[in-house]
Structure formats: structure tokens, C-alpha cells
């Protein structure tokens, strides 16, 4: 395990573009703190985002994991290119000839994916903790530690997305095309969703029930947007007479769907590598 991680570390460490993207990614996560300083005036009312309770425990776990997850594309680029560069430099061939098994090759990449997701989660935990203790109205231990399942969901969400990227990197072999394929797939899922929702299963929940099994939709379902949960938004909605009773929780079956996709992507990557002549 450690040997494989070490091999992958060497490969990434000397690649300047990978280094820049990874550093940028982590710096951007810390920039969530900057949201606190956003201020604007609506007429006479002075509006400070930090005062809206976004950094209150336990809501901060939800808010930060949602925002931080938006940045995952940076690491996705690193992962796609670390897969496809092995093809374009033909180093994958050399790795195998030097005595790596195909299983070890995929495993080394997947361990890297897990490490990326793990470090991101740890990093997010620390940043949120610091932000929370600086701005939160409540800092009792029991409140701080509640809703931590958002971090678990964040971890699974990143792993799922990265595993998808890993598979695309192997499938398409060219990083630009693999990222393009990702976008195409995203559009495909959305169009399919729209067709199901507005044409085939009009007026029922069937469309969402089906779509939750598609990889990107499943990944996105894990953490629901946190904005409408804010007091200010809730209050505004009540005034208009619109009741917002959205389900913001993390559900085990949603986690399970994504975990199943992770297994499928890893298995498919290996199967593809085994089947191909290099």
C-alpha cells in the first residue's frame, strides 16, 4: 500500500502543473473564510454575510462542505491528467514492464484518490472548526460535533467524483477529451432528467427517483444546497407564503448509491486496463 502511494507521490511531486493545481485548490478552500467579510448595502440596510449565521455550528458543516465541494474540479483535472498522461507518455507500459501488475496500477491511482479526498476532508474540518469558533454564536461541544455526517458525505462525494474522473482518464486516454466527456455526460444527465421530468413522468416524482441512480446526480444529491436553509431566506419565503420544507439531511441510501458507483468505476478501470493491449 505504502509502496504504491509512494510511487504515485513521486509521479505527482515533480509535475509542476499538478503541484500548482493542488496548492490552488487548498488555498481556495481557506478562502471560504473570505465570505465572512462580504458586505453590501441594500438601500439603508447594511448586510453582512457573516451575520446571517452561515458560520454557526452546526450549520457551518453543511455550508462549508457544499461550498468546498464546488472546488473539486481543480483536483479532478489533476486526477484526469494523472491517468491520461500515463497513456500519452506511454509510461503505463513501462510501469507494467518494470514489474507493476495492472491491479497494483489501478490500486495506486485509487489510493491517491482516497488520499486526496481524505486530506480535503481533514482540511475542511480544520478550516470550518477555526471559522466556527471565530464566528459561531454557539460553541458548546455537543452542538459543534452535531451534523458531522456532512463531512462523511463530503468525503464520499469527492471520492465518487474522483473515481469517475479516474475511469474517464483511462477510458478516453486524453485529458482534455476526458474532461470534455465529463461535461458532455453532465449535460446528458440534465437533458435526460428534463425529458423524464417534463415529458414522460409529468407531475410525479418518478423522474427524480430514477435520476438519483445516475453517477453525477447521485454525487450531487449527497449534499443539498444550504442557502435556502438560512434564517433570512426562510423568513422571506414564509412572508411570500411559500413553505420551504426541503430535506437537507444526509441519507444512507444516497451514500450507498455513490459507494456502489465508486466500486463500479474502480472495477471498470481495472477491467478496461486488463482487456486492452498497450
Amino acid at each position: 500500500m505504502l509502496r504504491l502511494l509512494n510511487i504515485e507521490y513521486l509521479k505527482l511531486r515533480y509535475s509542476r502543473s499538478a503541484r500548482i493545481l493542488i496548492i490552488t485548490y487548498f488555498i481556495l478552500i481557506t478562502f471560504i473564510a473570505l465570505i465572512a467579510s462580504i458586505e453590501f448595502n441594500i438601500g439603508q440596510i447594511e448586510f453582512r454575510v457573516a451575520d446571517q449565521g452561515i458560520f454557526n455550528f452546526p450549520y457551518i458543516w453543511h455550508f462549508n462542505s457544499y461550498i468546498a465541494a464546488l472546488l473539486k474540479l481543480f483536483l479532478a483535472i489533476v486526477i484526469v491528467s494523472m491517468m491520461s498522461n500515463e497513456y500519452s507518455n506511454r509510461t503505463i507500459k513501462q510501469n507494467l514492464i518494470d514489474g507493476m501488475s495492472k491491479k497494483e496500477f489501478i490500486l495506486s491511482k485509487f489510493i491517491t484518490v482516497l488520499v486526496f479526498a481524505g486530506i480535503s476532508t481533514l482540511f475542511l474540518f480544520i478550516v470550518s472548526l477555526i471559522l466556527g469558533y471565530s464566528f459561531s454564536d454557539f460553541t458548546e461541544f455537543s452542538i459543534v460535533t452535531s451534523d458531522l455526517e456532512y463531512l462523511l458525505a463530503y468525503f464520499v462525494k469527492l471520492t465518487g467524483f474522483f473515481a469517475f474522473c479516474m475511469f474517464l482518464g483511462i477510458l478516453v486516454k486524453r485529458s482534455a477529451f476526458a474532461l470534455g466527456f465529463l461535461v458532455v455526460w453532465y449535460i446528458f444527465e440534465n437533458i435526460l432528467h428534463a425529458i423524464l421530468k417534463f415529458k414522460i413522468f409529468k407531475g410525479t416524482d418518478t423522474a427524480s427517483d430514477i435520476m438519483q441512480f445516475f453517477p453525477l446526480q447521485a454525487i450531487s444529491n449527497l449534499i443539498v444546497e444550504p442557502f435556502s436553509r438560512l434564517n433570512a431566506v426562510q423568513a422571506a419565503a414564509t412572508q411570500i407564503g411559500e413553505a420551504l420544507d426541503k430535506d437537507y439531511g444526509i441519507h444512507w441510501y444516497q451514500l450507498l448509491i455513490v459507494i456502489a458507483w465508486i466500486a463500479i468505476f474502480v472495477y471498470l478501470s481495472l477491467a478496461l486496463l486488463k482487456k486492452r493491449d498497450l
Binding site: 510511487i7 515533480y14 507518455n89 518494470d98
Partner: protein, 301 residues
Amino acid sequence: METILSLNNLTKRFGKLTAVDDLSFSIEKGNVYGILGPNGSGKSTTLGMVLNVVNKTSGEFRWFDGGLSTHEALKKVGAIIEHPNFYPYMTAVQNLALVCKIKGTDEKKIHEKLEIVGLLDRKDSKFSTFSLGMKQRLAIASALLNDPEILILDEPTNGLDPQGIHQIRVIIRNIAAGGTTILLASHLLDEVEKVCSHVVIIRKGKKLYSGPVDEIVSSHGFFEVKAPDMEKLQRLLKDHPKIGKINFTEGLITAFLTEPMNAEEINSYLFEKGLSLSYLIKRKESLEEQFLQLTNQISQN
């Protein structure tokens, strides 16, 4: 003798095309083998299969005594294939360190191996800045890192300039002199002739011959002779029991032997019959001639 690699009816099909057809041979420790064949004859595909990058269609191959999985066995093998493949953004030393990690060997060897291939002064340059010759030499250094039981080289001099070719050949010969088993795939006859003791000749994926280089054709060589009276010479040669076919071209008679005979014997035979030669030379076919003869025989059948 210890067998390092044995192939048994190994076959590879790409759709309708059979790239490697029922190929069997084995590699014994301590010899230098050449796999010889025209371009597209299936040399690289054969090596690809035993090196775990091309899936075989049928048949089998066995590394060492067959007790290891292919990828474990490959850790005891050093191989380079057609193009040197390394991470372009890493330096020579960094690339070799990575190979050490994969093979599970000590990184102390890096310095020594870079010295063998003469790349020490460029050890901290990025791979992308290397010339093709340097890349190829780095690949050889990388293949040597684990002090392999066998070194596999696929067209090691392909695309190099004469100087580069010379450098690579000197390196290969030095390695061979050190007792390492070598398997060299090439379409260049003189390369195989200069370096190898044994040869496997394949054409369209089929094995034509395998064995020592000097026994390729069961021929006893031939004489090239000239005499002032060519007609008499031709007649006398025809009567000799050990001589078979006779060719007469450009004022030179080529007489092929059916049994071993040395130059003194033919000389004194002709002298007794009252003919003195102005030119006599005994030759064996060069590998090139033998190779062409062999490939032609098969295509005529």
C-alpha cells in the same frame, strides 16, 4: 542449463490478423539471443506478451521455473521496448528512482548504472531535454537497475545516428561480456550477427529457425574459384563428389559443398588434374544470405 523464459505455442490475433502464430522457443541462461525478422513480423508483439502489456490469445509462456506471477517475475527482468518511455518532467535520477520503487530495488545503484551508459553529467537534466540517443541510454540504465537475470531490448538502435548506434552496441557488448543473458529483437542482421550467439528467426509470426547463429543453414560453405581455363575448371568441379551446385557469374565460379571439405583438398585435387587456380576462397554464407535463403525457402513452400 537454466531456462529463463520458455514460450509454448504462443499465439496472438488482432481480429483476422495473426501477429504471432504458434510460437515456441526457450531462452537459456548466459546466452545472447536475437529475435530476427522483418518489420511487422511479430517481434514486438511477442515481447509485449511476455512483458505483460499485450494479452495473449492462446498458448502460454513461463518465466524462470514458472513459480512467479508475471509481474513478480518482471521485477527480475530488465526490458526496454521500441521507444524509451519516461516522465518528461522528471530528471534522469528522479525517473530512475521511480523505477527503483516499482522494482523494489535499492536506489544506490542509480549512480553506477548512469555511469555505465555515460549519462552521469546529465543526471539532473529533465528527460524532455534528452536526445533520442540519450533517452535510449537512460532506458538501458533503467533496465539494468535491478541487475536483471535477463535484459530484453527491442530495436535498441532504431532511429539513432551512427554514433548513437555505436554507443549502444558497445554498451550491449559490455553487458553481454559480463555474463548477462540478453534477448535482442531486431530487423538489422548485422546487429544480431555482431552481438548474438543464438537466433530465433520469425516471419509473419511463425518461427523459421531457432538455434546457434552459425548453424542457421545446414550448409558446409562454398568455394569461390577462378582459373585461366574456366571451362576445364567447371568440368573438374562437376566431377568432384563433394561438390553440388555450381554457379558461374562474372568470371567467378561459386561451388557449393555437399560435404565438408577444406581449401587444401580442392586445391591439390585440381592441381593433380593439371589445373592451377588463380583465385580460391572458402566462405560461409553471411547471416544476411542465410536469412534471405531461409525466408525465401519458406515462402516458396
